[in-house]
Symmetry: C2
Subunit: 154 residues, 2 copies
């Protein structure tokens, strides 16, 4: 690993606090070059999904012209939350480097640990209710997907 | 629950396949009105995070002018993946309605079940390696956050 990328993610996080953002940064690297960077922009952009990792992934997808970030590694100032961890897997990245831990984030008042704990529970016991309905009708989009010859898998 | 919103999410999903997108749709409702909608735009926008729920959350945040979607309910054509589930929790939504299940998505070739299975494993056993380093330096952004009087919590 190249610790300078992780140090850059930490520096981005620290700078972001000074401009009113959350204390998180991320740097995505492919073949020895930075292809995407991000800082937390949740409150700045009224976007609850704008965590540093998600912002960096979107930037990398745009700069590389593909949704497939295999061959990339992400360096995050803090251990990714469940949302960002999922985003990293969907992006097919090779490896995750992080500095602070989810418990460090919790100590600073963030919900990462709470959400990991929630995910470990059966769905019926989670605090945000999940209600299944119309499962038969919900099969229709998948039927259309199976039949569509022009589909691009991801 | 109002099944018409779920039916609309399913219809959006089905329509999206016909224009080359993934078979997923989502509708966010607050106080009896739709405040955000989304379809899967991963391949269309080279954005691996552009799942229907994330697109709908971003739209709702923009239309309501806030990152806090408490009081909102999301209706998804399919059970949210870990990324989208995390996004819904960060958005502080009240409830999740869904039609197809994660196993239905798996049967159509999507990785939702694989990712839920991965999340259930200890981090060291997951297929995407997670490497912690420089934890001491990673504490600096949180120290800056604690000291910054103008911070907006989320």
């Amino acid at each position: 690993m190249d610790k300078e990328y992780l140090r850059r993610a930490i520096a981005l996080a620290e700078q972001n606090v000074r401009v009113g953002g959350g204390p998180f940064g991320a740097v995505i690297v492919k073949d020895g070059a930075i292809v995407g960077e991000g800082v937390n922009r949740v409150t700045a952009t009224q976007d609850p999904t704008a965590h540093a990792e998600v912002v960096a992934i979107r930037a990398a997808g745009e700069s590389l012209g593909t949704h497939d970030l295999s061959g990339c590694e992400i360096h995050a100032s803090c251990e990714p939350c469940p949302m960002c961890w999922g985003a990293i897997l969907w992006a097919r990245m090779d490896r995750i480097f992080y500095a602070a831990t989810q418990s460090d984030a919790a100590a600073a008042g963030f919900d990462d640990v709470n959400f990991y704990d929630e995910l470990a529970k059966p769905a019926a016991q989670r605090r945000t209710p999940m209600v299944e309905a119309l499962r038969d009708e919900g099969a229709r989009p998948f039927a259309a997907w199976r039949e569509f010859s022009g589909k691009v898998r991801y």
